[in-house]
């Protein structure tokens, strides 16, 4: 098959364009003011500047970013479970500067025992449902959240499904190899 380049498309150009800056310019977070903030060592394939923020400084840093850095668009809150590492959880925040269109990613490391982080609901109203979702699916509590309830799962659900020690097949049915029959039958009831 012959390959002909048609039109004016330049995929090479579009490929490395999407994020405006490959690494964090020093002005994003004032290092002298927030000495606890450090860049994240993980490879960021999208080139978004990523910082690890101590949980105690989170509200300060985010309100600084919002009020002085122009990061006014609240984008996303989620978490990653790094079991069996400690600190086990990592909160991941995405904010966007408007109208500079500069993205930033913040991470907060959270211990596995009684995980809790300060809530961003006082700064961004949109954080409300996102933090409820993380609470629901990871079991991380948010201090200062006005309405911390489960959002996706039923209120009486046991466990937090997105934790890595939560079985893919449900809370009472541990993972089995794919082609193995279950002794208790398909519906989990013990056989007579």
């Amino acid at each position: 098959m012959t390959q002909t380049l048609g039109g004016t498309v330049e995929p090479e150009k579009s490929a490395d364009h999407p994020e405006p800056t490959p690494e964090a310019p020093p002005s994003l977070i004032d290092a002298a003011r927030f000495p606890g903030v450090r860049p994240s060592p993980m490879r960021a394939a999208d080139g978004t500047p990523t910082f690890i923020v101590p949980a105690a400084n989170l509200l300060e840093v985010v309100s600084y970013l919002r009020d002085e850095g122009g990061f006014r668009l609240f984008e996303d809150i989620t978490a990653v479970d790094w079991l069996p590492k400690e600190p086990r959880f990592e909160m991941v925040y995405h904010l966007m500067a408007i109208p500079a269109f500069q993205p930033i990613r913040l991470k907060v490391q959270v211990p596995g025992n009684k995980p809790k982080v300060p809530s961003l609901t006082s700064l961004f109203e949109g954080a409300n449902w996102y933090e409820r979702e993380v609470f629901d699916l990871f079991g991380i509590t948010f201090e200062g959240h006005p309405d911390l309830r489960r959002i996706e799962m039923p209120e009486d659900w046991e466990g937090h499904p997105l934790r890595k020690d939560y079985p893919m097949t449900g809370p009472r049915r541990p993972n089995l190899p794919a082609n193995q029959f279950r002794a208790e039958g398909r519906n989990g009831a013990p056989q007579a």
Binding site: L5, G6, P18, P20, A44, R72, F74, E75, I98
Partner: protein, 419 residues
């Protein structure tokens, strides 16, 4: 007097006294009534449940209850290889499967580091198909939104024209909705013969039809009465809520991922980002109507530059070999086997890939730990944030019938909200 106070109430007010008053339903003097709307209701566009507190016709508080369509897609993806997880992305936003495929695909390609190796035919076809998808999604939005507000005929016309777009998707991928056609490394299969003719025919047809939709609604007095000034939010509120897409652009902020962080070559296309000012239901309507015009332009441009050639990268570690190769060469057979049993292993890292869905900023946050399955796949669903802003935009400022207008203007997809 009391009514006036409630009218002025907005997001900044004291939450405690507010909730106390609402919970004080037992007091007959307050005359509040709490009613339940959904989760099975024709106007909630799926399984959305609303708990509405009313004083007469006036909405005092509108709370959304979601989770009825939670299918654990983020958890399921952790147990699947990248190619298997692709099929889950169709099921999140089921009116928008190709754009969801694209978000997942671009994120995975970033992790693999093959973003710049995608052949031009695949890149152009991605633009063409996702813009057709945007039109089809907006047609469903328009039809259902108008039908909720009493304009039945728009729904019939919208579905008629959407079906023609779904025919094109069926032509390329074999299925109308759950396409999984855009995949890491390019496209699932080559574009079929006659594809460009069919798209050109559709565009020719649709350009004639589109003004009819405008004539049905845009200047209709009934339509304006029902939508103008309803559920308006300001730009600052929208940013704080994380509202994106047509809802944010209706507030006057031209935030479109296709312009701001161009992907699949959007910077080489000629299109505009429609905006409006007041952020109410009517302005969201106008923004989406104008977006369809831009999508038509984009489809035409993509069709004109659609090149011949390969539709997948040449790397057999990422895309399956052709069927005739499997039958003739040993290496292809091994590659085929390895790809479908083990998959590929991106280098450890993370990526937050934004794409402009029909509803707003759709983003895939993926974390790889170097194995063949995504360690974490989080979907930043635009409907989730947009729906969250709906309750506060109505509280104390709307009548009961406005709720239906507000739901329609958000264009929620519960599959995406609950994931």
């Amino acid at each position: 007097m009391e009514d006036l106070q409630i009218k002025e109430r907005w997001l900044d007010d004291d939450e405690d006294t507010y909730l106390k008053e609402i919970n004080d339903v037992a007091d007959p003097k307050k005359e509040l009534m709490t009613i339940n709307m959904g989760p099975q209701h024709p106007s909630t566009h799926g399984v959305l449940r609303l708990i509405v507190t009313l004083r007469g016709e006036e909405v005092v508080k509108c709370e959304s209850d979601i989770g009825y369509l939670h299918t654990g897609i983020e958890k399921q993806a952790e147990g699947k290889t990248y190619n298997q997880a692709l099929t889950l992305t169709d099921r999140t936003d089921y009116l928008n499967p190709l754009i969801n495929n694209l978000g997942f695909t671009l994120a995975t390609e970033r992790l693999l580091g093959i973003t710049d190796k995608i052949p031009p035919k695949a890149t152009v076809a991605r633009v063409l198909l996702t813009e057709l998808q945007r039109i089809s999604s907006h047609l469903v939005w328009l039809g259902t939104h108008a039908m909720d507000l009493g304009a039945q005929s728009t729904f019939l016309y919208g579905m008629r024209d959407r079906e023609k777009i779904l025919d094109i998707f069926e032509m390329v991928s074999g299925v109308r909705m759950m396409t999984s056609y855009i995949m890491p490394g390019g496209l699932y299969a080559d574009l079929p013969p006659g594809f460009d003719v069919k798209v050109a025919e559709f565009i020719q047809y649709f350009k004639g039809r589109w003004p009819e939709y405008h004539s049905l609604l845009t200047n209709s007095e009934l339509w304006i009465e029902r939508t103008k000034g309803v559920a308006a939010i300001t730009a600052d509120q929208a940013l704080s809520w994380g509202v994106t897409g047509p809802m944010l652009r209706a507030c006057g902020i031209a935030y479109d991922i296709r312009k701001v962080f161009p992907y699949i070559g959007y910077e080489t296309y000629d299109f505009e980002v429609p905006t409006a000012q007041s952020g109410d239901v009517y302005d969201r309507f106008i923004v989406r109507m104008n977006e369809v015009n831009q999508s038509i332009r984009l489809v035409e441009q993509a069709l004109n530059r659609l090149p011949e050639g390969e539709w997948q990268v040449a790397d057999l570690k990422i895309v399956p070999p052709k069927k005739y190769q499997i039958a003739t060469t040993m290496e292809s057979l091994i590659h085929h086997f390895k790809l479908y049993t083990e998959g590929y292993k991106p280098v450890a890292g993370e990526v937050y890939q934004r794409v402009e869905s029909a509803r707003g900023e759709l983003a895939y946050y993926m974390v790889s730990n170097g194995t063949n399955k995504p360690y974490r796949m989080h979907i930043r669903a635009p409907s989730f944030a947009n729906l969250q802003s709906m309750g506060p935009s109505l509280d104390g400022r709307a009548n009961f019938a406005d709720i239906v207008a507000a739901i329609g203007s958000i264009d929620i997809i519960l599959g995406e909200v609950d994931r």
